[in-house]
């Protein structure tokens, strides 16, 4: 039933003279181009884009969309991605012309509605985080990390001291050390202990007067709450450092515990995870950052403030680190976040976390009979199973299981992360999945572990393509279509 012809590359379907969009004729005097622009500035021909008609375009992209898994069509238990349901009312409301057709430099009097939403969002994130000040400027979680580290650097420059290192647990997401490097710090790795948490002895050994920041994810990437977090943050503060919380896993503790209350000085949120923003095939997201009062002056400008019942953009922030991007922020994503927070309210968020943790523990209770879960019987909103034994006994590892899950109609969990577990499979169901779905997933996983190894090695079998040759793609990269390649 697949339409192979419509999914040919646009460039292969191109036929000269076709076009989809016709613009109106020019209603102002049509002065010759040579009068308006110097000849050497002009191209000799229009750009060599493909030429298609509108029905062909629609059919092409509509068919492409059918070649994706998505949250709307499949269970997507990707650990630390929080693939929860993306509410349709948020799409409808965030897409209103009154929000999307606003220019960033319009006069503030004409922006009072959007500024109110952004101001309220700042306040809600401050409340949820337990911290005082919020910047909505960063465009993604990693961007937020970098922003917060730049804030820390500015703060230390201000108060004096030669703070050059950032401590990062070995189980952390790769963006953490990458962000530290971009902010000019040296990343120092912290070991995990046997139960997967930060090794306090290693922390003691590595804390010194060069330590600027400890970056920590809590719950961590193994889905475990750092029970010693108060002690950890206390030790870092004693050493004169700051604590940064990577908020990717906030879905476990909304309304339960607040990073500001357990010692974090800075954190970022991922609205496209925790707050139901759609993932868009890789983006857009947003990376709002919350900080304690003493760090507030260093946040990027502007911040939305409220004065005499009017909303304004406050640019008067002389200690600000500056901008990390143009214009205000990923407003469209933030409006969706606002809709979600207004829909759930305080109790809804707490219930969402409760069900996220319930779902993960329930799935763990079933999966542990199928694959070992090295770090115990309980977890927060996600857990990590290991296909290491399976690999040794049957030659089928995490990747093979992941690929075979596609045949059963499930998107695979995250594999090979975190690095501290061999053949890791990080599973996060989220609260919007039903028990029926979780049971079906566990059932599929069980069947897969009993199947002949070759069936897994060559999986998936029911998708249009199977096991792309990644070595070939990396050795001789073909990154664009060209006529010669065809």
């Amino acid at each position: 039933m697949r339409n192979k012809q419509a999914t040919e590359l646009l460039f292969e379907q191109s036929r000269p003279g076709c076009r989809a969009v016709r613009l109106p004729g020019c209603d102002v005097p049509e002065r010759p181009l040579e009068e308006l622009l110097p000849a050497e500035a002009l191209a000799s021909a229009p750009p060599p884009l493909p030429e298609l008609t509108e029905p062909e375009l629609v059919r092409h992209f509509a068919n492409l969309s059918a070649q994706n898994m998505s949250v709307d069509t499949h269970f997507y238990p990707l650990g630390s991605c929080t693939m929860k349901y993306n509410p349709k009312r948020n799409e409808r409301l965030a897409g209103m012309p009154g929000f999307i057709d606003l220019h960033p430099y319009q006069p503030e009097a004409s922006l009072q509605g959007i500024l109110e939403i952004l101001h309220a969002s700042q306040e809600m994130l401050a409340e949820i985080s337990g911290l005082e000040a919020v910047s909505l400027q960063p465009a993604a979680g990693a961007h937020g990390e970098m922003t917060a580290l730049l804030v820390a650097a500015a703060y230390f420059r201000d108060i004096g001291g030669n703070r050059s290192t950032v401590l990062i647990p070995d189980a952390a997401h790769g963006t953490n050390p990458a962000s530290a490097a971009m902010a000019g710090f040296q990343a120092v790795q912290l070991k995990s202990n046997r139960d997967g948490r930060v090794d306090l002895d290693d922390l003691e050994a590595k804390l010194d007067d060069r330590t600027a920041v400890l970056m920590i994810t809590n719950p961590n990437t193994l889905g475990l709450f750092e029970t010693q977090i108060a002690r950890i943050t206390e030790r870092v503060h004693d050493a004169g450092g700051l604590v940064y919380l990577d908020g990717a896993n906030m879905n476990a503790i909304l309304g339960v515990a607040r990073p500001g209350d357990f010692g974090a000085d800075m954190m970022h949120f991922n609205p496209h995870k925790t707050f139901s923003g759609p993932h868009g095939g890789g983006g857009p997201g947003a990376g709002p950052v919350a900080v304690t009062g003493k760090l507030a002056p260093y946040l990027p400008a502007p911040i939305v403030v409220r004065e005499d019942g009017r909303y304004r953009l406050d640019f008067r922030r002389p200690k600000s680190i500056g901008r990390v991007r143009s214009f205000f922020g990923n407003t469209g994503v933030l409006v969706r976040m606002y809709c979600y927070l207004r829909t759930l309210g305080a109790e809804g968020l707490r219930r969402a976390s409760a069900d996220a943790v319930l779902n993960a523990n329930y799935l763990l209770s079933r999966v542990k009979h199928i694959l070992p879960v090295p770090h115990g019987d309980r977890c927060m909103h996600e857990f990590v199973a290991s296909a290491s034994n399976l690999k040794q006994e049957r030659t089928t590892g995490a990747m093979d299981v992941a690929k075979r899950l596609l045949d059963y109609g499930f998107h695979a969990p995250t594999v090979y992360f975190p690095l501290v577990v061999r053949e890791a499979m990080m599973i996060e169901p989220t609260e919007t999945e039903s028990k029926t779905t979780l049971d079906a997933f566990a059932e599929a996983l069980f069947r897969i572990t009993e199947e002949p190894p070759d069936l897994l090695h060559d999986a998936p079998h029911t998708t249009a393509i199977s096991r792309p040759d990644e070595v070939r793609a990396a050795r001789k990269p073909i990154l664009i279509w060209s006529r010669e390649q065809g």
Binding site: A20, R22, P29, E40, A41, L42, A43, P48, L49, L52, Q67, N68, R89, L93, M96, P97, G98, I100, H103, P104, Y105, G113, I114, E116, E127, A139, A140, A153, G174, T175, L224, I229, A257, H279, G280, G283, P284, S326, G329, N330, T331, C339, R342, L344, R350, A352, L358, N361, R378, A402, L406, H411, E431, D458, P468, D469, A473, A474, P477, L479
Partner: protein, 445 residues
Amino acid sequence: MPYLPHTPEERQAMLDAIGAAFVDELFETVPADLRLDRDLDLPPALGELELTAHLAGLAAKNTPAGQSVSFLGAGSYDHFIPAVVDFVAARSEFYTSYTPYQAEASQGNLQALFEYQTLVTQLTGMDVSNASLYDGASAAAEAVLMALGATRRRGKVVTAASVHPEYRQTLATYLTNLDVELVTLATPQGTLAPDQLARAVDDRTACVLVQHPNFFGCLEDVRSLAEIAYKAGALFVVAVDPISLGLLARPGDCGADIVVAEGQSLGNPMSFGGPYLGIMACRDQLVRRMPGRLVGQTVDRRGKTCWVLTLQTREQHIRREKATSNICTNQGLLALRAAVYLAAMGPQGMRSVAELCLRKARYAFDELTRRDSLEAVFDRPTFKEFVVRVRDGRVDERLEAARSQGVFAGVALGRWYPELDDCLLVAVTEKRTKSEIDRLAESIE
């Protein structure tokens, strides 16, 4: 409770399977003294009906482009978005899908992004494009970081005051803790003078960053500037307006090593500043230094053509602190929209848009500058935007007067350029009609 699927019976069955009596037990690892002992202080929850009314009320407090005549530009533009772009982006198999790490489950996204990458190279004349960065400003900053790594010259980066102030501010932030000198050359004539650049570059210069057309709408002498950078062994980074490439010579044909752009103009709404689309394209030799995701073509185990994320060793999830950048989530959906836009417009459509912007802006320029109260500022060819001076200096009053007549006449430049605090930047897109432009002139004179 919205979006939560369990019945009380199911919750109980799940607790039984786990071996816990209450959900609260599952939170035992959270120390009691760290738990929040009250409810979060958040506004009350709203059902869909109330939420709709609430948001509608807030939307009504804004003045969107459809309710005014907008001549605002400066990096964000009121361009026409064909319906087919919204249609494709609204398909939830696109917008609720995840990063295409599992290629077999994401051929739709991967092929669309491969098409996007190709379209960007066709538009810019460069060899390779990535699958998006956050916005034009951060793309420019990332391009500079790329140049620093590629040339191994850490001493200096040279740019011009005619580059968008927010791009330069972003760049300065990215360079804060890296020991690099950022030199900004003045552009009192509206463009960067080649001999001025020649005096500023040396063998410590990693790259030159210019914008073309620049922030003032003026065309820079890119071929000469590129030549100067090349002679000094520095990379030439140029930030472009994608809409202008329907008419202007492509940066790849003018000596650019790295091209960045704000892709908002390609089928993405203004959206109060974001989400936007950071476009980046470069020469082949630089591809391994390029940040962001890259989609590559390959074959599967049955020999079938397919697409995968490739060269992932550049990226943070493998390289970690040695990554070319820390970027993870990008602007995938906006890249998709841009791909649909470019495919829908095609060569003739892009040329049409560019010609309309050029001619209409020229008409607006003529109409405004023939008024006694206004005058031209820069004597340079411009595209889509231009600067006018208010002779009596009362910019804000004029803008307010125009606004009360439903016209957003332009962006006052005083906030970034004190020497131009009696000037405004006026942008004219293909959407503006002759009568709207006449209204602009009347509202502001």
